[in-house]
Every structure is written in structure tokens, then in C-alpha cells.
């Protein structure tokens, strides 16, 4: 036995898209034997496959063999349409009868039950229905989907955390559970203050405000790209000292309510101030004066970032197209392994042998 937290834990992923694949990605890194049973072709792009399937074993199985695999798993994760498991002959109630400690996680856009259960969705549809989109983008343009496939990753992240939480519960109590994760609910429960303010105060919906919540909370063009600042009241004095404009000592910018009333004027000053600053200079000022400055960095920038390299954030994974570098352990403190990338079906024989005792 290694010192990996999930060493010996068997996870069956009924492959679909990002949600199920991301849910089990960290389980593989923390030591679980994650077996992905391939789903429909083309559910993941080649880049998504490299990132999400590294460290997993990939099999092709169906029917009675699939049922046998499921009954030998500790955690089962799938993101098919509602009722997918039952249609495969893997109804959760039946599996739990034979194996009460099994943790089952099902991820769908709108939940296993409800009026939209049968609705079709891609990432942008799930993102729209979760509420975050109404808050994102320029007020002068349509609401904007954010980058990547965030509604789907969010579902995968919640499924991961829910699955390992339920697995801990199963270790203590001897019983697993069936967890119904809806992408819509994952997003609808994290609308910062905006949903509760609308609902509690009756002020009407809060709509998108572009890159600025206010002048001291937003993104500005800078000399070498874009940079950001996010100040709470207590951080504003240090920020204004660094900006160094004597007018910022006037009451209309010092008093929180007056400052909001003069937000356009303040933004104009800050557009001018940021324009000749470089990202590195801003980050150094931020660290020295405890001002929340940020820089808009690209994945390429981050692959060269010293701090991330010092912390050992990236894994290197060999792929047919070369060595890919990608986010590895989500947090340090527990042993992690960078996995190998396998092709579809590459591990069918080995897994059927080890899990089921089937000899080729």
C-alpha cells in the first residue's frame, strides 16, 4: 500500500463529457484506481481528453461485465441523461441492495427529476440557466458566457467533493448513497450577494456591469495588457496613497457613499493611472502595500510562472502530440501522482483481469 489517500479505492466512471471526467480526475491523482468505461465518441476534445483522462485506465465494457464492474466499485460516477444507469441495467437501488457501501454520483444539467429533466443542454445553456451569465458581460452587449466550460466543470467539481464526502461517510457508517447533482443548482447556489439581495430587498434583478463592479473593483487596460484591482474599504487608503493623486484625499472620494456617487470620475482617474503601469510592477506594489492588485495572465504566462513552479503545480504528461503540461494537484498537503495518458480501451484486458478475475 502506498501513502496515496485513495490507494486501493475503485472508481468506475461511465464516460461522458466533462462533468464525470473532471469529477474523477482528482480521485485518480490522489491514488484511486479510476476506470473509465468509454462513452460516445467526441464527447471530449483531444485537449480535454489529455487533461481529464490522465491517470485513468480506459476500458470498453457493457452488459453483464459492466454490472460486474459496478458491483466491485467503491464509487460510481456518470453524467448520462436522467435514468441512464437504469437503462444500462445498473439501477442505483439494485446496485445498493447488493453493495450498500457503494457511492453513486449522477450529474445532469437539470437533475434526475423535475420539469426540465429531459431538457438538452450544452455548457452555454447550463451556464445561462444557473444565473451567472445574467451577471457577466458588458451592459451594452448581450450577456456573455465565460471561458472554457465552466458550468460543466462546476458540476464536476461539486460531484468530486460530494463523492469523497459521501465515501468518508460510507467508511464510517457502512452505507453509501446516490447523489443527484444538477449543473443548474451548482451555479444557482453561488450568485454572490446578488440573488439574495434581489430576493430580500425587492430591488429588482442585478444585471451585468462589465468589468467594473465599481472603480475600485474591476479590470483596467495597462501598459502590457490588462490588470485588476479589488479593494474593500479598509484597503482603499493604501491604494489611493500608491496612486498618489492629491484629489483622492478629498471627501468625495474618501467617504464610501460619496465615492460611489463619483465613481465615473474615479474610474477616469484610474484608467489614466493604470495605463502606463506594467503587470509585474503592479503585483510588486500589491504585495508590498497589501493592495489586491491582479494581472490578467494567460495559461501560457502561468506555465512560466515562478511561484507556481516553486509550488510544483504543473504535471507533465506524455501524449501522442508531445509532453503536455497542465494543472496537477489541486492543493498540496496530500500525496499526488501525475498519471499516464492511455488510449481508449487500452486497459480492458488488465482491468477485467484485476477487477473481475477474467483471463483473456
Amino acid at each position: 500500500m502506498t501513502d496515496l489517500v485513495l490507494d486501493g479505492v475503485r472508481v468506475l466512471e461511465l464516460g461522458g463529457g466533462i462533468p464525470a471526467a473532471f469529477a474523477t480526475r482528482w480521485m485518480a491523482g490522489f491514488g484511486a484506481d479510476v476506470v473509465r468505461c468509454e462513452g460516445p465518441d467526441g464527447a471530449l476534445t483531444p485537449e480535454e481528453e489529455v487533461y481529464l483522462l490522465a491517470g485513468k485506465r480506459r476500458v470498453e465494457a457493457s452488459g453483464a461485465q459492466l454490472l460486474e464492474l459496478a458491483l466491485r466499485a467503491d464509487i460510481l460516477v456518470e453524467d448520462g441523461r436522467p435514468g441512464h444507469l437504469a437503462r444500462l441495467g445498473l439501477a442505483p437501488g439494485q446496485l445498493q441492495k447488493e453493495r450498500p457501501e457503494l457511492v453513486i454520483v449522477s450529474i445532469t444539467p437539470f437533475g434526475q427529476e423535475g420539469p426540465y429533466a429531459a431538457y438538452a443542454a450544452t455548457n452555454i445553456v447550463s451556464f445561462a440557466m444557473g444565473g451567472i451569465m445574467s451577471l457577466t458581460g458588458s451592459p451594452h452587449r448581450p450577456p456573455l458566457v465565460n471561458g472554457g466550460s465552466q458550468a460543466e466543470y462546476l458540476g464536476g467539481l461539486n460531484a468530486f467533493a460530494a463523492a469523497v464526502s459521501a465515501y468518508y461517510g460510507a467508511l464510517v457508517q457502512g452505507e453509501g448513497d446516490w447523489i443527484d447533482i444538477s449543473l443548474q443548482e451548482c451555479a444557482a447556489g453561488m450568485l454572490e450577494l446578488y440573488a439574495s439581495r434581489t430576493e430580500y430587498t425587492g430591488v429588482g434583478p442585478h444585471l451585468r456591469s462589465g468589468n467594473h463592479v465599481s472603480a475600485v473593483w474591476g479590470i483596467y487596460p495597462c501598459a502590457d495588457g490588462y490588470a485588476g484591482v479589488c479593494c474593500l474599504g479598509r484597503q482603499i487608503p493604501a491604494f489611493f496613497r500608491v496612486v498618489g493623486d492629491p484629489e483622492l484625499e478629498e471627501q468625495r472620494f474618501v467617504d464610501p457613499l460619496e465615492r460611489l456617487a463619483n465613481d465615473d470620475e474615479l474610474q477616469a482617474k484610474l484608467y489614466a493611472w493604470f495605463a502606463d503601469k506594467r503587470k509585474r510592477e503592479l503585483l510588486e506594489l500589491g504585495a508590498a502595500h497589501k493592495i489586491p492588485f491582479g494581472a490578467v495572465l494567460t495559461p501560457g504566462d502561468l506555465l512560466e510562472n515562478e511561484s507556481l513552479a516553486e509550488r510544483g503545480f504543473f504535471d507533465a504528461v506524455a501524449t501522442p502530440a508531445g509532453v503536455a503540461r497542465m494543472p496537477g494537484r489541486p492543493f498540496p498537503g496530500l500525496p499526488w501522482r501525475a498519471g499516464e495518458f492511455h488510449g481508449p480501451g487500452a486497459d480492458t484486458e488488465a482491468v477485467l483481469g484485476e477487477w473481475l478475475g477474467v483471463r483473456a
Partner: protein, 410 residues
């Protein structure tokens, strides 16, 4: 009756604002006993971040604070005072988890770093959630969710595409991502402790958990050296895809076509039958023209009816639900997602239920966020056997308190 996964787990919660409290809210809803520790002098600013005029003890009546802090107990302790620190370290042996999201140097400055916690309880599971972690050359940087999003590569991927400008996500996106990740870290720590008897120290960096949500962009950058491209609301894989204005005030619908069949169904509805039969590449090439048909159709529709009509023929479509009408969405309503939780000082309003629907353990919101210091005496009495004389001593020192000092500071 099956118990919740974290039944029997006790958490010392030093977190504030959003990322940490979002994590401990989930821990509480999933069965842990969460002791939210605040100093009378340095308390969770979320309590008064949104000013509420004319409200008595506004720090107890904040919808914002309540949203993140249900199912927790409130215990005051000033950790900057020697006596407060001492009481805290007496609590540690009674707890399984200590979690904090201070700036990277704060816990060590208080003399409560991991080694100190471990000396108090050898198998403690300690989770820190600083923006950039406790090691690495950028550890001294500070930041809230939008800064995390910028520094993690996320903001660079978002944009309309025609102006080169990156965009922030409309919420402080780094926070809840770090929060859910931290719950996973706690669960893994508990699994490890059960298997080995050892505790652990998790140095979660919010920037890193955020970057894990765009992993494929790093694969693209490292294999092909490509910079991020902004697609606006379009997609290289699905076409047409976009967000279209419908009737009503600021109402929009997202539509995303995956297959030729879905396109033919959509073309029939929006009156673009002369364009049916097009494959993906042709639809991409004619996307502007196709959008014209969809825009003219959508402008005459009710958003909800348009979504239902498209979904009825299998076309992926969804309203851009806003912060008001999301509370009336039929699907969320049927699933019991919005819950009116009673509160002693506030009119009940609709708060989100847990997105983790464990069918047997059945997690629910159980109790409103605690009033400031509501459980100080009960917890210190139950766990440390303290009595009235002890509380008088601590109160006289200002180590505990029933209301915040300097309540106007945000």
C-alpha cells in the same frame, strides 16, 4: 435513518468573506458541527458589507452574511490576545478540522501555524485557503475572487472576441471554486486520518483551484503554444450558438445546436428553412446570417415559451435567468431548491438548498446563520467546562463579546 456524511465531525472555522465560509457552510449542511470563530475586534466583514440603514444590530440581519453562514455556531474569541489564543488552543483537541482563509501570513503571525495546531492535537486536519498559497514567490500577494480569476488564466479566456478585451465573470468566481475544493480537501483529510491515523496540512491556493477549471487551455498552450482565443458566445463545436434577446425587459435565451437534426428543427421554427440541411462547417461560415433569423424570431417571443418550444423539439436552449426570475424557475421550484429558513430578526426569504442531493441522507438547510456570539457560552461550557466566572473574565478582557467592536468598519 441514514446520517449525513460529516456527522460527528467538528470544525474550528476561522474563515471570513466568501471562499472559506462557502466551504464551511457545505461542511455544516453535510453534518459537521461548525464553530465559527470571530474576534469582537476582527469579525467577518460580510456582516456589514452591504449597508442597511435603520436596522438594529445590522451585523445580525445581513442577507449576505446569512447566505453563507447557515448551519454554523458563532463563538467569539480574540485570537490576538494571549488569553484568546490559549482558549482557542484548548478547543483544538476537541475538533477534527481547523480551516482558515486569511492572508497567507496571518495565522503564523497569530502564533497559530500548523505546527502549533499539531502540538495541540496530533491528528488535526488543517486547511488554509490563501489566495496564492503559503509558499512560492507570490505568497505575499493578496486578492479576492476576481483577482484570483485574473491570476489563474480564467479571465484571459473570456471575451466577446472583437475587441481583445478580457472579461471578469459576474461573480467573484475564484471564491466558490476554492470553497468547494476545500470541502474535498477536508473529506480527503478525514479519509486519510481514518486509514492511517495521521492528520495533514492542506495549503490550498485559490489561484490554483481556479486554474484547474480550465485545464485543457494549459494543454493547448503547452502543446501548441497558442494564446487564448475569444469566441464570445459562439463555439468551435456547436453552431449556431449564441444568446438572443427576447421580448420583455433584458430577457435573453441561449441556444446551442449540436447536430444537423437539431439545426433543421431550429431552422423550421425561426423561419430559416432555406438554410436547412447545412452541416456544421457551413453553419459556422453562415453564422452571422443564421443569427439574423434567430434574432428576428427571438425578439417576438416570450423567453420561457421560446425555451419550452425549442426544447420540445430537442434543441438545447435555456433562458438567461436573472437574479430575480431564477427564484421563480419552474424546475428549481419543483425540486424544492429555494427554501425559506426562519430567522429571529429577518423576514424569511428564499435561500438556495444544497446542490448535493444525497438521496438517503437528504441534506437540508436546518438553521439560520447564528447571531453574533450566540453560542460562545454554550460551546465553551460544553467543551471546556467553563462557567460564569470564566465568561466574566473573558468578557472583561474583551476576548469574548456579544456584539462587534467598531461595527461600522467594513
Amino acid at each position: 435513518m441514514k446520517e449525513l456524511p460529516f456527522a460527528g465531525v467538528r470544525v474550528l472555522d476561522l474563515t471570513m468573506m466568501w471562499a472559506g465560509p462557502f466551504a464551511t457552510r457545505l461542511l455544516g449542511v453535510m453534518g459537521a458541527e461548525v464553530l465559527k470563530i470571530e474576534s469582537p475586534r476582527a469579525w467577518d466583514n460580510i456582516r456589514t458589507l452591504v449597508p442597511q440603514e435603520g436596522i438594529e444590530a445590522p451585523w445580525n440581519s445581513s442577507f449576505y452574511f446569512n447566505y453563507y453562514n447557515n448551519d454554523k455556531k458563532s463563538v467569539t474569541l480574540d485570537l490576538a490576545q494571549a488569553r484568546g489564543r490559549e482558549v482557542f488552543l484548548e478547543l483544538v483537541p476537541h475538533c477534527d478540522v481547523v480551516i482558515e482563509n486569511y492572508r497567507a501570513d496571518v495565522l503564523e503571525n497569530l502564533g497559530l501555524g500548523y505546527e502549533v495546531l499539531k502540538a495541540a492535537k496530533d491528528d488535526i486536519i488543517a486547511v488554509s485557503m490563501a489566495g496564492f498559497g503559503k509558499t512560492g514567490s507570490e505568497r505575499a500577494n493578496v486578492g479576492f475572487g476576481p483577482i484570483i480569476e485574473q491570476m489563474a488564466g480564467m479571465a484571459s479566456l473570456t471575451g466577446y472576441g472583437d475587441d481583445g478585451m478580457p472579461y471578469k465573470t459576474g461573480i467573484s468566481y475564484g471564491d466558490p471554486i476554492a470553497g468547494v475544493s476545500a470541502v474535498g480537501a477536508v473529506a480527503l483529510g478525514l479519509i486519510r486520518r481514518r486509514r492511517t491515523g495521521h492528520g495533514c496540512f492542506i495549503d490550498l491556493a485559490q489561484r490554483e483551484t481556479m486554474a484547474t477549471q480550465i485545464g485543457e487551455a494549459f494543454v493547448v498552450a503547452s502543446l501548441r503554444g497558442e494564446e487564448p482565443a475569444h469566441h464570445g458566445n459562439r463555439s468551435p463545436r456547436f453552431a449556431p450558438q449564441g444568446v438572443y434577446r427576447t421580448g420583455g425587459v433584458e430577457q435573453w435565451i441561449a441556444i446551442s445546436v449540436r447536430t444537423d437534426e437539431e439545426w433543421d428543427a431550429l431552422a423550421l421554427i425561426v423561419g430559416a428553412t432555406q438554410l436547412d440541411g447545412l452541416g456544421l462547417a457551413e453553419r459556422q461560415a453562415l453564422h452571422d446570417e443564421i443569427d439574423g433569423y434567430i434574432e428576428r424570431w427571438a425578439a417576438e417571443q416570450d423567453a420561457q415559451q421560446a425555451m419550452e418550444q425549442l426544447q420540445a423539439v430537442g434543441v438545447p436552449a435555456g433562458r438567461v435567468l436573472d437574479t430575480q426570475n431564477i427564484h421563480d424557475d419552474p424546475n428549481l421550484a419543483a425540486r424544492g431548491f429555494w427554501v425559506r429558513l426562519p430567522h429571529p430578526r429577518m423576514e424569511p426569504w428564499r435561500q438556495p438548498a444544497p446542490a448535493w442531493r444525497l438521496s438517503e441522507a437528504n441534506p437540508q438547510l436546518r438553521r439560520h446563520a447564528p447571531l453574533f456570539g450566540e453560542h460562545t457560552r454554550a460551546v465553551l461550557s460544553e467543551l471546556l467546562g467553563m462557567t460564569g466566572a470564566d465568561f466574566a473574565e473573558l468578557a472583561a478582557l474583551g476576548v469574548i463579546g456579544d456584539e462587534p467592536v467598531n461595527p461600522g468598519v467594513g
